[in-house]
């Protein structure tokens, strides 16, 4: 187990290093010059040059990279060019709506997909299974903003019962107001997450249910639900957990689109605005932080295998 953890930590560090190189050189090979962007078209050449000097844009790339990394390790990602605040402050301001949205959506997606997947696997080949599989297949083909647009059309425009734009905090406006603004974004995002989870739950349950020990459990006369939950699902859970971890990436990505559509001031909208304004430090910081979260979550899940599955704990293999 120790060797396994050490190996994984090492590979995470290497991945982070490559990632930082990539992000840095990506945002520095851009066509637009942030200094002239910031000052607008009225600025003189001297002003632009002075600002470039202040921002350190005239240093050699390698120096800029090492300065950036050294600061980043201290938790300082520099200042946003356009928002009058540091990157960390900007992220801190915008992270709550995104976390809420992602959390609610993931919970809803799990509530939909795991029972659906289990039932489909149990009734493999029957109408339920075909229905669930068809739902999953169609669902996989719909981008999240189409769900969003359709929900806006129906609940916002036709029925006029739900707000379609904006964000209200729980503290200030109360739970019901908060959720009335969040419900459409949550459903749009959950519907994009659910199909893949359903598919994976179904296929890993089908696989587990065909194993011998399930037959033994059946022969012993155990109740169907006990077999499904205690015997089968526990073993299928590993695969489901992996996909859950990987789906965090698409969740964040989906959040970017959904936040823009529903005008929620979260990280996703922050990313989109940073990109449209070519706000280098903000783009770098955001991509690095979001990827870091993604890497940490997946690392944690890898470690969890050891806890959940004793076979891995003993052999040290994944």
């Amino acid at each position: 187990m120790k060797k396994y953890v050490g190996k994984r930590i090492f590979s995470v560090i290497v991945t982070l290093f490559v990632l930082s190189l990539f992000i840095f050189f990506l945002t520095h090979s851009t066509a637009g010059d942030p200094a002239s962007n910031m000052l607008g078209s009225d600025a003189t050449e001297e002003q632009v040059e002075q600002l470039r000097e202040e921002l350190g844009l005239n240093d050699p790339l390698l120096t800029q990279y090492f300065n950036w990394i050294a600061d980043a390790l201290k938790g300082d990602f520099g200042d946003s060019y356009f928002r009058k605040q540091s990157v960390i402050e900007a992220i801190g301001e915008c992270i709550t709506p995104t976390l809420e949205l992602a959390l609610y959506a993931e919970i809803l997606a799990i509530i939909i997909s795991i029972p659906c997947g289990i039932f489909a696997a149990k009734k493999k080949g029957a109408a339920t299974d075909l229905g669930v599989s068809a739902f999953a297949l169609v669902g996989l083909s719909v981008p999240c903003f189409i769900y969003g647009l359709l929900l806006i059309l129906y609940f916002g425009v036709d029925l006029g019962v739900l707000p379609v734009s904006g964000y209200k905090t729980i503290e200030e406006y109360g739970t019901s107001e908060h959720f009335s603004y969040m419900v459409l974004p949550i459903i749009s995002l959950a519907l994009t997450q659910a199909p893949l989870l359903t598919r994976i739950t179904r296929s890993s349950m089908v696989e587990v249910l065909s194993l011998d020990y399930i037959k033994t459990a059946k022969a012993k006369g155990l109740k169907g639900t006990t077999i499904l939950t205690k015997h089968a699902f526990r073993n299928a859970f590993n695969t489901i957990l992996t996909v859950l971890g990987q789906s965090i990436g698409s969740l964040v990505a989906g959040a970017a689109v959904i936040e823009t559509l529903f005008n929620i001031p979260g990280m996703g909208q922050l990313v989109v605005n940073a990109v449209l304004k070519r706000d280098y430090p903000l783009i770098q910081g955001l991509v690095l932080v979001i990827s870091l979260v993604y890497i940490v979550i997946n690392f944690t899940i890898d470690m969890l295998y050891g806890v959940i599955d004793p076979r891995i704990r003993v052999s040290g293999k994944s």
Binding site: L19, T30, A31, S141, L153, G249, V271, S291
Partner: protein
């Protein structure tokens, strides 16, 4: 592969192809996917025959006309024919998806085979791929778009960088598995060069899983392009893509629901057709994975 093709194996290969085709045609869903895809591709390819006046004709007097005989899908805020925009949008979306798939297929195959076959570079290539894959695709694609001029070529380039690692990973896994086969040992013993082994013995044997992965990339690339365009960081206006048509639909959502509904259906059908086709191909080419 070559030797067998010359001799008795030729018949067997033809038989196996026939069998695969038979399995595929028996799968009714896959055939439905094929039909949808053919229809969509037909619309995209013959866009200028179907709508010879093109997607750009504006007529401010004819803004927001509801679907009717002349404009079966209505008109948008600039009085452009929504049907024409959708047909040309399909063309651009398919073009982006197809070129992305082709380029990632080539680069991914080469990188994956090198990583899988030569242990020394395996670590380097796979660490780079892992790092790239740790950035969520939409995030990576818009970050790349911020570094490039907005154009179709840039969108395709961004998508290729996003998806090449995925193909490379599949190709690497398949290469490592194929390397264990005795025929590779035999070829090595005969003194075949690494290049020859990779091209003649490994490449044909890892095609199936890579092609299956490729169809999914085709579908997700279309979705990703649409998402990018929807965020305003994809195909620049006025060129239509399914994504930026829907982006413009957002403005008129309170007055003109046809701007959302028809392009939305076109988008879903395009991706759905390819996804079903991909599932069918997987059942035929890579039966173990199901």
């Amino acid at each position: 592969m070559k030797n067998t093709e010359k001799g008795i194996g030729k018949e067997a290969i033809r038989e196996s192809r026939k069998l695969k085709l038979k399995i595929f045609m028996k799968n009714k869903l896959a055939v439905v996917g094929l039909v949808i895809t053919i229809l969509i591709v037909f619309l995209g390819v013959f866009a200028d025959v179907i709508c010879p006046e093109g997607p750009y004709v504006m007529d401010i007097a004819k803004r927001y006309i509801e679907p009717c005989g002349e404009y079966i899908f209505g008109t948008d805020k600039m009085g452009r024919d929504v049907f024409a925009r959708i047909v040309y949008g399909i063309r651009i979306s398919l073009l982006v998806g197809a070129v992305t798939t082709l380029v990632t297929f080539i680069f991914g195959m080469v990188l994956g085979m090198i990583a899988g076959y030569f242990k020394k570079v395996d670590n380097i290539i796979m660490r780079i791929c892992e790092a790239l894959m740790s950035i969520p695709p939409v995030l990576m694609a818009i970050a790349l778009m911020s570094a490039l001029e907005p154009s179709i070529t840039s969108v395709i380039m961004s998508l290729c960088i996003v998806y090449t690692p995925q193909i490379a990973r599949v190709a690497r896994g398949a290469t490592i598995a194929a390397k264990e086969n005795t025929y590779i040992e035999a070829a090595t013993a005969q003194g075949a060069s690494s290049l020859r082994i990779l091209l003649h013995h490994i490449a044909p044997n890892i095609l199936s899983p890579v092609i299956v992965q490729g169809t999914y990339i085709f579908a997700t690339a279309i979705i990703l392009e649409a998402s990018l365009s929807f965020l305003g960081a994809g195909i620049p206006a006025p060129a239509p893509s399914l994504g930026n048509i829907l982006y413009e639909a957002k403005e008129g959502i309170f007055t003109a629901n046809w701007l959302t509904i028809y392009p939305g259906i076109a988008m879903v059908l395009t991706v759905l057709g390819i996804n079903i086709l991909g599932d069918g191909l997987r059942d035929v080419l890579d039966p173990k994975s199901n």
